[in-house]
Amino acid sequence: MTWVAVLLAAAGCYLLKLGGLSVPPRVLEHPLVRRVADLIPVALLAALIAVQVAASGSELVLDARLAALAAAAVLLVLRAPFLVVVFGSALLAALIRAVG
């Protein structure tokens, strides 16, 4: 099942790219389409963060993941590079779990 998901995502994402290069710009340049397309990454990434950090199955739980997210936010404010943000927050979560 995972392979099906991987290959469908591959085919779909490629067609989305090719479509953009192939379609005459006016077809999709409707202001509403542009606005929604602009907001979709914002909404989806925010939702992914929330679910990733606070959901465990169908329950909401607060644990080391939330602290790791807070650490990531601090690192981003400090303009740390992507890798430092990702592995820095992982390190904090690991430390909290080791102590707790």
Binding site: A50, S58, A94
Partner: protein, 236 residues
Amino acid sequence: MSSSPDPALPAAERTAIVRDSLGVGIATGAYGVSFGAVSVAAGLDVWQTCALSLLVFTGASQFALVGVVAGGGAPLAGTAAALLLGTRNTLYGLKVGPLLQWRGWRRALGAHLLIDESTAMSVGRDSVPAARLGFLTTGVSIFVLWNLFTLLGALAGTAIGDPATYGLDAAVGAAFLALLWPRLDSWHHRVVALLAAAVALGAVPLTPAGVPVLAAGAVAVLAGLLRPAGRREEAS
């Protein structure tokens, strides 16, 4: 340096474009290591992880797919999230298509390299060769390094065992936040982000895993419909 296609790109401009593009390519490609590690932590195997980087090749969509799987969601719900995030590449294509002016097999190959960074390094160039050079140097260098580092990250992630011990499961949220961060550049976007997160959390106890993320996509549609005056945000 006129606006018409000029096959002879001045050497200085050429060097500058290649240098800038490689810089972006190296910085971006290296974080493939975090994708590789996070993906195997989510439960995908090394082959599936590498297939994502080779074939999907658009970071946020890849992270979305493994993020949904990590949360216990159906893999196909992950695909849906990946496709929704992939729609922004369509808009990039509309923007760079007229600049690159590729047809046939060149367009078919070039399309695979159409991502945030290759778009950023080709828009604003004043000639077709300059746009193509920025696009290809950035796209190819990221493609090579992203796949190499994905493999390294996946192998390392597999070798160290239970991801929770090393906090790698918690790093997925951090990776998404880092991807979201540059988009939180207006109040409009911040409000949409908060609403989307709230909708997703509200849906967690009520719907199967994977659905909450897609439900949040509706927030984007509603916000787009309800905010026809939000033109200032469209400049980026």
